[in-house]
């Protein structure tokens, strides 16, 4: 497949690298010249150091022969426009319509982008929420809204080097029973922790907790209170 990735941040870069490794033809459009150059030095001549939201660079990338266009910048508006431009240009040049995928950074925009013609959207927040819903499988339809109404919040804690939680097991933290830790992100790996999971510095811990438990969780995980 021929895939155009717009936006060479962490998401776009790893995506490009993975897709290339899978044998696809990929071109990455990244507007920051220094960043584009660094990526080109590692991955070869697969980078166009320009703005993907300006139609001419999608044209130069050969959007009319692309199978997929992925808009992966950190902002939702350009991601929408990139997907739409890809489709409009492909239509104008008589090519076939590429499948468009947009990264959504603000969950509120997810539905909107689809209504405005983007084929598929990917939201990190939604992915994490889906994992949590899976975790709470007896009630698979718990939504964020309901959580809010129930006075529960979803938080992320990054474990610092000097935190008392480093080397500690989840069970050993002795968190209140109404606090749950559905997910630990370590490097690129997502771990479903159990009581025996040992925590490490720089782990990102996703916690689901009643709002009034925030300070005790913060203290146990970060070694400080607010």
């Amino acid at each position: 497949m021929y895939i155009i990735v717009a936006g060479g941040g962490k998401v776009g870069y790893h995506l490009t690298k993975t897709l290339l490794a899978q044998g696809h033809e990929v071109v990455l459009i990244e507007m920051d010249r220094a960043r584009a150059q660094r990526i080109a030095e590692e991955l070869g001549s697969v980078v166009i150091p320009q703005r993907a939201d300006e139609g001419r660079w999608l044209l130069e990338a050969g959007v009319e022969r692309a199978d997929v266009v992925i808009a992966a910048t950190g902002n939702d508006e350009p991601n929408l426009i990139i997907c739409q431009l890809a489709e409009l240009i492909a239509r104008r040049t008589g090519g076939r319509k590429p499948r468009t995928i947009a990264r959504v950074n603000h969950p509120k925009n997810e539905g909107m982008l689809k209504r405005l013609g983007v084929d598929a959207t990917v939201s990190t927040t939604s992915v994490i929420l889906a994992m949590i819903e899976e975790e709470l499988s007896p009630h698979p339809t718990v939504h964020l809204m309901t959580l809010r109404q129930a006075g529960i919040e979803l938080m992320e804690f990054i474990i610092a080097d000097n935190s008392p939680a480093v080397g500690q097991t989840v069970g050993g933290l002795a968190l209140p029973p109404d606090v749950s830790l559905p997910l630990v992100v370590r490097g690129n790996e997502a771990i479903k922790p159990n009581d025996d999971t040992v925590l490490d510095a720089e782990d990102a811990i996703i916690a689901l907790l009643p709002i009034d438990r925030e300070s005790i969780v913060r203290e146990r995980l970060m070694g400080q209170t607010v």
């Binding site: 939201d53 139609g55 508006e77 426009i81 431009l85 409009l88 909107m112 209504r115 405005l116």
Partner: protein, 152 residues
Amino acid sequence: MNIVIMGSGRVGATLANRLSKEGHHVGIIDITSEAFERYLDPEFKGRTVLGDGIDEDVLRKAGIATADAFVAAAHGDNHNLMAAQIAKVIFGVKRVVTRCNDPVRMELYEALGLATISPSLIAARSLYDLVMDERLHERDVAAEIERALGSA
């Protein structure tokens, strides 16, 4: 008419002031309140709404549901184009005008039925006309200024 304007910079606010003075109902949106204070007339009678114009709730507060026209006059082509499409597609606003500076984007979105204008192209055209206007440059401006100041 009921008109919603996104962006209370020089362009958006100047338009809002004029429409309000003419008796239209204007709702104007910006992400900072300083923009309202800096550019809107104290006599402005419309509604000011703080928030992002691509947020449906913010648009509703500004009166999009009953708007006859929507103007996307913020900075940033992408932002304007997204807000304009929400006004057109989601709220069914009849007249939608968008500020957009990239000629390629302009052309493609005009094909989708959005009216777009480019302030930079208009400014360049006006500047060209002025530079090329022979009559203007035949006048001795320095002498005129001197005379005007001398007589004051």
